[in-house]
Symmetry: C2
Subunit: 141 residues, 2 copies
DNA sequence: AAAAATCCTACTAAAATGGTAGGATAAAAC
DNA sequence: GTTTTATCCTACCATTTTAGTAGGATTTTT
């Protein structure tokens, strides 16, 4: 899990809090989330080309999520920055291990991959926001 | 999951098949598993310093597992080559994120980390060997 | 003593990571 | 219609990690 995925998640959380009529700019996200303004360029570009975020460019434009936060999973954000989930390289179709299907280890790595993938798909941006509310409540006590 | 962990798992599987009186040398593992003899040096060194493998002095010498295959998990092998499991860097104690406990994302990464850790701990070398027997049986059909 | 095996340290090419830099483009405000 | 402010786009780069290679020292067996 590299910084792009992590920052991507936090960016999506930030955008999910946008209220109708309100504008959220790259600058806002950069400041709130303490992510370099320029690096955020690449984060947002990734989210856009994955179809998770959209914008109208121009002076007052800002960004917006294309789907409700409850319909964007962490897996969606992960795949915005990675070709696919592969906990070991022999799972990505590029490289083909000589041992292939004879390899019990490979079967195990595939199962691990499934475990992780299922979990990433099960958590949405909305879940994270709810968790955030819960955390804020606990801190206020 | 880097090559050291993957090769480490396959090396442990190889050693687990050792019968009493039989010797398994680095050379054997290198040939059977198609791992460079010299690189295997480092793999075995890691397994040894983690206490999973020891050198036996007998007729010649060779290596042996220090525990039954059913009591060596993939997590044990993982930690032989990595300081600890951390799917994101802010989970390793070295770096401390400014957001710390206020961050819902971090809580999520921690849960993901637990999911992976539990799974790695749940699978033993013995499980992999049993799976291998199953695969061999299916291929023979 | 020779041979065969383990043990140990250092080096390195290539790729990935986590950014920075500089400017082009688009549209709203004046 | 020009200035301002925001997005968009491409290239570059330092550092770290990865996946080994290399060379030899030491120990054990024959």
């Amino acid at each position: 899990m590299n910084t792009k995925v992590r920052y991507g998640v936090r960016t999506a959380m930030e955008l999910a809090l946008k209220k109708p009529g309100e504008d959220i700019y790259q600058k806002d996200i950069s400041i709130n989330q303490e992510i370099s303004y320029k690096y955020l360029d690449q984060i947002i570009a990734g989210l856009k080309s994955a179809g998770l975020v959209t914008t109208v460019s121009g002076k007052k434009s800002g960004y917006i999520l294309t789907r409700e936060p409850g319909r964007i999973s962490v897996y969606d954000i992960y795949t915005a920055f990675n070709p696919g989930l592969a906990v070991v390289e022999c799972l990505s179709d590029e490289e083909v291990c000589k041992k292939e299907e004879r390899c019990a280890a490979k079967h195990f790595w595939e199962e691990l991959n499934d475990v992780v993938e299922r979990y990433l798909k099960s958590i949405t941006i909305n879940d994270l926001l709810e968790k955030q509310v819960e955390i804020n409540k606990q801190l206020a006590e």
